[in-house]
Amino acid sequence: MATETRLLGSRRISLDDPADAQEYFHSRGWTDGLPVVPPTTAAVEAALDWVGMPPDQLIGIEPVRQRAITAEKVAVNAVMAGCLPMHLPVVITAVTGMLHPDFEVHGPTASTGGSAILCIVNGPIRRELGMDGTFNVLGQSDRATSCIGRALRLILINLFDVRPGGIDRSTFGHPGKFSYCLAEDEEGGAPWLPLGLERLGGDADMSSVTVMAAMGPRQIMNEWTTDPGEILDTFVAEIKANMLHYSIWHGYYAICVPSQLREHFHRAGWSKADVRSYVYERAFVHRRQWADVGKGSVVADRGDWEYRALRDPDHLLVLSAGGPAGGFGIVIPPWLGHKSKAVTTPVGACVDC
């Protein structure tokens, strides 16, 4: 089959062999420290063919130095991360979201706070790619999820120069900075309306990617009640702990609810909107509580001031995710406050036409 000849603009580097390429890439700070798939012209062309994009297709503009981020460079880094061509639509959609002005990509990627970009995938594309929102969903759940999340990190490293000690000033960072991607479990247990459809509307055949500047996941456990309110009280307690121990400022939080707990919400007739409104009403602390966690010196005369975790109920992303057994849950706090908003982008939509 004849293939269209594409004129890739990237500099071509001649090396001895793939092993030489590994060392060459590591030595230049082009990796996350793990081995990469050498980005050959053939692999990058195959990825661009899959999405039907010319190499110079503009995906977005990096906001600080006004860098044009192109499909070719995104594809090069996706290949390095281990992505197959069929993974590229998700990677490109995630990058589109990261470059939306509401995401304010510079802050969460440069800050000492050390957040990662959580990437949530919804819709039929999850199943096409074999993305699994159940067992080990925040670990190495499956190939596509691992590689797509890793691709976003390599793109930050190589296209945004977000390297440790360079633009990335993270004090700690967290393991999600290697890869922080999950597919929502839209089928298992008692299904809820998927996040993408909640945030964008549309039909069930639409796929979407949501990006959120996120700290590491905090696991909770409550297997000793079937009451949705009591279950959520445990989530709320973890959110309050984060507000006191880390940052008191409101922002976008995500919670993961596994099917064992979702059954209880389903039986009681609770939708995601019900969950959001319950958490919104209860997730607040008073400034005086800082004194309980060693921060009394900054309470001042504002001890009665009330701080909410969520400025709006919709700032809570409620996710169906996790293995079938276990009365656990996850709270994923925001990077720091509201400066970076969660952005949801449909897969395959034209953003400039």
């Binding site: 890739l8 603009g9 990237s10 500099r11 071509r12 580097i13 001649s14 090396l15 001895d16 062999d17 793939p18 030489d20 390429a21 060459y24 890439f25 082009w30 050498p38 980005p39 050959t40 012209t41 990058v44 906001p63 600080v64 130095r65 006004q66 860098r67 044009a68 981020i69 460079k73 090069v76 880094n77 390095m80 304010e104 510079h106 802050g107 969460p108 440069a110 800050s111 000492t112 390599l154 190589n158 296209l159 945004f160 120069d161 400066k339 970076s340």
Partner: protein, 93 residues
């Protein structure tokens, strides 16, 4: 035999990002400060302003503060910068 791979980095900077000509002197100059708005930057800029006025004869210091420390400077600040001879973009924490 060689093995050919592609450079994964950003290779082309926007042409507009070139350094402005250096000033021969700060005597009588107007210097703008762009603060990122965090608490820690104020003391630094106070000290810098004293240095610039007392030791380098700077005539005027114009202080501006970004509305969002994570975002590029607001367009209004960039507009005002055209009236300055030099500027200091300061990041405090």
């Amino acid at each position: 035999m060689t093995f050919e791979v592609l450079d994964p980095t950003h290779e082309t900077e926007a042409a507009a990002l070139t350094r402005a000509p250096r000033l021969a002197s700060l005597q009588g100059a107007t210097v703008g400060f762009i603060s990122n708005g965090k608490q820690g930057v104020r003391e630094f800029l106070d000290a810098l302003e004293r240095e610039l006025r007392d030791r380098h004869g700077v005539a005027e210091v114009v202080r501006t503060v970004k509305t969002n420390y994570s975002a590029p400077a607001d367009p209004e600040i960039i507009d005002r910068a055209r009236e300055w001879n030099a500027l200091v973009a300061a990041v405090g924490d």
